[in-house]
């Protein structure tokens, strides 16, 4: 599947296109198929997101998994600071990116 990601213009937070807007959680992402460029252009023009780009992803038992490690780290947060990831209560969360 193709999912769309970028950063919130004001805060810089990593965000994922959920079909209606932008979510901080990769599991909210939807398959944008061939619509990525159109959505990205529209949302960037509306200043909802910056540096949007489409990535390959798969789904598994844990949810949506970006194909590349860089995007998995973007989805989670820094593996060396579990307290600053989206799963601060899970010290093993970093294993998900590997």
């Amino acid at each position: 599947m193709k999912i769309l990601t970028g950063n919130d213009l004001k805060t810089g937070d990593v965000t994922w296109w959920d079909g209606q807007g932008w979510s901080r959680h990769v599991n909210d992402a939807v398959d944008v198929g061939a619509m990525a460029d159109e959505i990205a252009a529209r949302e960037e023009a509306a200043r909802n997101v910056v540096s949007a780009y489409a990535i390959d992803a798969t789904t598994d038992a844990d949810g949506i998994r970006p194909a590349h490690i860089k995007d998995r780290i973007r989805a989670l947060g820094p593996t060396v600071r579990p307290d600053l990831t989206l799963k601060p209560a899970d010290p093993e969360a970093g294993n998900w990116v590997i």
Partner: protein
């Protein structure tokens, strides 16, 4: 240390208001990202993996106690309670909001700091010896000259759009503590046969994807021609440096392809032309700057011994303090490399504490080392124990300067959008491995440096042991290098062979150190043994 005059302050304040307006226009939609991006980068604001990242300039690594405390306050107020000290003697914040950025710059300006020229194809922050003004072996304090270069290079209209970024280091001793020959221009203050002090110019060094050691192009430039000669070096680069290919745009490529002799000839020609233009700042300006770097009021007749029976303190003194030029004083290094920690990171509380300690123990001054530690340059020996006790109580007393646990690591793929692999977890595992196996002390001086990509922010080429993270079909892979140095014996490391996964590289490092422990001769460091016996015994142990 240097203090802004009204011109410095006006320039910085004006830039803050300019950026405040640019940010407002970006958020209101008047500026597109395409137009805004170069403007934010000129103010050190990057968009990184998780958020905006702000890189703050620390000129030649020198900070007052108040400045250090302000950096801690910014970490608390605008970031997530910590900062990251970099290999360019700067500090970075990883979680900045665009809407906060102008206010952060305003807070910085209040303590005579900024983020100008910490990005872009311009002359970046001038770096220097972190022991400048304290080192027993320097012939002169290099910081007034670094400051002169800072003023010359700030907003220099001709050099704001160079072919590529440009880095300058200034040192004043034969011991190189600033990786001088791995800079675009490395300047060493030297004394000639007549006893006069001048500058040796090394041009065309650098790390990155094409590492090169800068050759000497002029062994003695008089001090009152420092700026003119620097201008000549930049002009020839600006004229001939490649702009068609960013990977061939650094001055090291120009010097290499043009040839050192031809590059030097053109610099000398330009220098002759420039001397007639009279661009050198008047000596009065240097005379205005120099008193800011005068020695502090060192006490005389104070205790010149460090007395303590406490083994932990003795270990720290032996490892983390450095000979000072004034009797009764040492330079003390605060390690930001606790076992299993993140190299260069410090919490807001720790940053503020280091500012307080600079004020209390070191004439209100501290330094950022390019090795991502902090120096208190002038500490009385008689007060070291109380300083140590405070550091130890706050997680800042790791006794590991220049050991295998004192690892340089770039932010890597945990934070950096350019990285191919994570650096920090490897550094953590290596420091834990060697703290656990007890070999650190036996290994002595061993500089290990890790980069998460070929851009080499972690100086892997210059590590006695270097590690380069690469992307191997979507999986992190780590190459091992041996034999690099960024000191006065500058050399570039060589790759041992095929790479490793994260655990494999830790094992490979330990095997390499075991070869050293087995083969070393009296007094040899790891690097010395490697240079004597060559790569083969190491490869055999690692891959055999």
């Amino acid at each position: 240390m240097y203090q802004y005059d009204k011109y410095d302050q006006q320039m910085v304040d004006t830039r803050v208001e300019e950026f405040r307006d640019q940010t407002r226009r970006r958020l209101s939609g008047e500026l597109s990202e395409e137009k805004f991006r170069p403007l934010r980068l000129m103010n050190g604001l990057y968009l990184q993996l998780h958020a905006y990242m702000l890189r703050v300039a620390v000129p030649y690594g020198t900070l007052s106690g108040a400045q250090m405390k302000a950096l801690g306050d910014i970490a608390d107020k605008y970031d997530r309670g910590y900062g990251h000290f970099t290999t360019r003697q700067n500090i970075q914040y990883n979680w900045i909001k665009l809407e906060d950025a102008p206010e952060i710059l305003a807070d910085l300006a209040k303590v005579e700091m900024h983020a100008i020229q910490t990005s872009g194809n311009c002359i970046r922050n001038i770096s220097s010896d972190h022991f400048a003004g304290a080192a027993a072996d320097e012939i002169i304090d290099p910081r007034p000259y670094a400051e002169l270069l800072r003023q010359w290079s700030s907003f220099h209209p001709e050099f704001s759009y160079l072919p590529r970024k440009f880095k300058i280091a200034v040192i004043a001793s034969d011991t190189d503590r600033a990786a001088m020959r791995l800079h675009d221009i490395g300047i060493q203050m030297v004394r000639n046969d007549a006893g006069e002090i001048g500058c040796a110019f090394y041009v065309g060094g650098g790390m990155g994807r094409t590492p090169m050691v800068a050759p000497l192009i002029n062994a003695f430039v008089p001090l009152d021609e420092l700026i003119t000669y620097s201008e000549a070096c930049l002009r020839v680069y600006n004229r001939h440096g490649r702009r068609d290919n960013k990977y061939k745009a650094r001055i090291k490529i120009l010097v290499h392809e043009m040839g050192k002799d031809e590059y030097t000839r053109q610099v000398e020609e330009e220098f002759t032309h420039l001397k007639a233009q009279g661009i050198e700042p008047p000596l009065a300006e240097l005379a205005r700057i120099e008193p800011y770097f005068a020695d502090p009021a060192f006490k005389t007749g104070i205790v010149d011994e460090i007395a303590s029976d406490a083994p932990d303190f003795a270990l720290w003194v032996g490892r983390n303090t450095v000979l000072h030029k004034a009797p009764g004083y040492v330079s003390a290094v605060i390690s930001l490399k606790p076992v299993g920690g993140i190299p260069g990171d410090a919490s807001a509380d720790q940053i503020r504490l280091m500012g307080d300690l600079a004020t209390e123990y070191s004439f209100d001054e501290c330094r950022v080392m390019h090795t991502q530690n902090i120096v208190l340059p002038h500490v009385e020996k008689g007060r070291l124990k109380e300083l140590y006790d405070t550091l130890a109580a706050n997680g800042l007393a790791a006794p590991n300067l220049d050991t295998i646990e004192d690892i340089i690591a770039c932010p890597g793929l945990d934070y950096c959008s350019l990285a191919n692999a994570r650096s920090i977890p490897v550094a953590q595992k290596i420091s834990e491995r060697f703290a656990g196996n007890g070999k650190t002390a036996a290994l002595g001086e061993l500089k290990l440096k890790i980069s998460g990509c070929i851009n080499a922010c972690g100086h892997h080429h210059a590590g006695h042991i270097g590690i380069l993270g690469v992307d191997k079909k979507g999986v992190e892979n780590y190459q091992l290098l041996l034999g690099g140095s960024e000191a006065q014996d500058t050399s570039l490391g060589k790759i041992t062979g095929p790479g490793f996964d994260e655990d494999g590289i830790v094992d490979a490092v330990e095997k390499a150190t075991d070869v050293y422990l087995e083969k070393r001769e009296d007094g040899e460091r790891f690097l010395d043994t490697y240079r004597r016996i060559g790569m083969d015994p190491f490869k055999e142990a690692i891959y055999g």
